[in-house]
């Protein structure tokens, strides 16, 4: 049985003003409450697709529907986590995490209370008064994640969130992300170029072809994650099969 779609991408195409065609006729349904990765070679338009879903970029063809309504721009039911963190360098961790609520006009006390909760959840308690430049890359991205969680959006869009952090931090962060998202029922759309990351994290992998990007394949790695360590998951047969299957497809695109 297919779960209900939180986001429907229908025939989306994007041609930039420069004439470069980034996406062509992308149609895919992203199930509610699941983590879906958009995976593909560099320049396949996966970030563009994510930004179209986020309402930051307008498609030149087709439409994206969220909760049955066509996306015209950003909306409160969608929150973004950026590749370059996009933290306000002049604001403390607390204010950065509360920023989405600040924009919505939530009173200071209320939004800071929520922000403190999220900061603790992502493991940054004690850093509320720090500034972004005082934090490591991994910690900065935790701030970015806390900011996205603070606005209570149903859908979280993550654009290569771990690509600028080192490998150990990245693995720790991936595990923490799964714990944070478990039981929250969030729909997560996650862009990555790492096959392992995609398979490790996601219920569903949407594989995009090179430019102009379109859906090459949708995979459902059936990996049992309950009560299993990260290492056990990484040795799981289904995990390894999925990684290999994706590699076989992607291999044709590389070079």
């Amino acid at each position: 049985m297919t779960p209900e779609a939180a986001v429907e991408v229908r025939g989306v195409g994007k041609t930039w003003e420069t004439g470069v065609e980034a996406l062509r006729d992308v149609t895919v349904a992203l199930p509610r409450g699941r983590l879906t990765t958009l995976l593909g070679p560099s320049g396949c338009g996966k970030t563009t697709l994510l930004k179209i879903i986020g309402g930051l970029v307008r498609p030149t063809a087709g439409e994206v529907r969220v909760a049955g309504r066509t996306v015209e721009g950003p909306g409160p039911e969608r929150a973004f986590v950026f590749q370059d963190f996009a933290l306000l360098p002049w604001a403390t961790v607390l204010r950065n995490v509360a920023f989405g609520l600040e924009l919505r006009g939530v009173p200071r006390e209320a939004r800071e209370a929520i922000a403190r909760g999220r900061i603790a959840e992502v493991g940054l308690a004690g850093f509320e008064a720090s500034y972004p430049h005082q934090l490591s890359g991994g910690m900065r991205q935790r701030v970015g994640l806390a900011r996205a969680l603070a606005v209570e959006a149903d859908i979280i869009l993550m654009d290569e969130p771990f690509s600028s952090v080192d490998e150990q931090t990245r693995r720790q962060f991936q595990e923490d992300l799964l714990v944070l998202l478990r039981d929250r029922g969030k729909t997560v759309i996650f862009v990555t170029h790492s096959i392992e990351e995609a398979v490790y994290l996601s219920d569903r992998v949407v594989l995009l072809s090179p430019r102009p990007g379109s859906v090459a394949r949708v995979l459902h790695p059936a990996i049992e994650r309950e009560r299993r360590s990260a290492d056990e998951i990484r040795r799981d047969k289904n995990y390894l099969d999925a990684v290999d299957e994706i590699w076989q497809i992607l291999k044709q695109y590389v070079r």
């Binding site: 986020g54 309402g55 930051l56 721009g73 950003p74 909306g75 409160p76 969608r78 929150a79 973004f80 950026f82 370059d84 996009a86 306000l88 360098p89 002049w90 920023f99 989405g100 600040e102 924009l103 919505r104 500034y131 972004p132 430049h133 900011r147 606005v151």
Partner: protein, 245 residues
């Protein structure tokens, strides 16, 4: 040999004193006499009145320059047409010898404080606008995108992101503008010649009161330096994120 700044100043003061005492030129009285007659002049009502008039013209002119310059800079950076239309003029005026316009201002606005205020504005506003434009242009685009993603309305993008992001450049512009503004006050008042510090300069040089004259020069220099340092101190407070951007 490296002397600390204070030491270097002391050496200059001593040199000045010696040249003054040698009586080489009537234009250069000994430094000690400049200080004593300067202090005596500072205490007079005329001096206090002149300083007050000049400070008021400076403050008013700077306030207007900020109110016009910062929005103009933002506009030039964000609106393509405004950038083209205003950009040319701002770039011409920022390097033009604006003092040449003061006589015309006197003819149009009259001989009085408004002319001095307008002179201050003309001296300060263009560099403020130009630096603001640079700051806003350099503002991190991903921060703007982030703000939009979290539902920022257009005015919030300006008030919550762009202006803050451009603050280091804006402050640099304000500092340069303030330094030029001091020049504007002095030049404006010198040309108008009947008010404020300009009147004093005129008075002292006409009557050959060199000790008072030099005392006034030192006061004006110190004021310009103090304003510049105060804004530089503000700049250092935002430096941490200017580098981190």
């Amino acid at each position: 040999m490296r002397l600390p700044a204070a030491g270097s100043l002391a050496v200059w003061c001593v040199a000045w004193e010696l040249i003054g005492r040698a009586g080489l030129s009537t234009i250069v009285p000994p430094f000690s006499r400049v200080v004593t007659s300067g202090l005596a002049a500072l205490a007079t009502e005329k001096f206090a009145g002149a300083v007050l008039v000049s400070l008021r013209a400076f403050a008013l002119g700077m306030a207007l320059a900020l109110l016009a310059g910062i929005p103009a800079g933002v506009l030039m950076a964000r609106v393509r047409g405004a950038g083209r239309v205003l950009g040319v003029w701002v770039n011409v005026f920022v390097s033009a010898p604006v003092s040449a316009l003061v006589p015309i201002l006197m003819a149009v606005i009259g001989i009085g404080e408004p002319t001095v205020v307008v002179t201050v504005v003309l001296f300060a506003v263009f560099v403020i606008a130009l630096d603001t434009e640079v700051g806003v242009r350099q503002a991190d685009r991903s921060l703007v995108e982030m703000a939009r993603a979290f539902g920022a309305r257009p005015h919030q993008v300006y008030t919550k992101v762009l202006v803050w992001s451009a603050l280091p450049e804006i402050l640099a512009g304000v500092r340069l503008g303030a330094i030029r503004g001091v020049k504007g006050v002095v030049i404006g008042q010198l040309l108008v010649a009947i008010i404020g510090v300009g009147e004093l300069f005129e008075l002292y040089s006409k009557h050959f009161l060199m000790e008072e004259f030099w005392a006034l020069v030192i006061v004006v220099f110190l004021f310009a330096f103090a304003v510049s340092e105060a804004i530089a101190a503000l700049e250092r407070r935002v430096e941490y994120y200017a580098r981190a951007r």
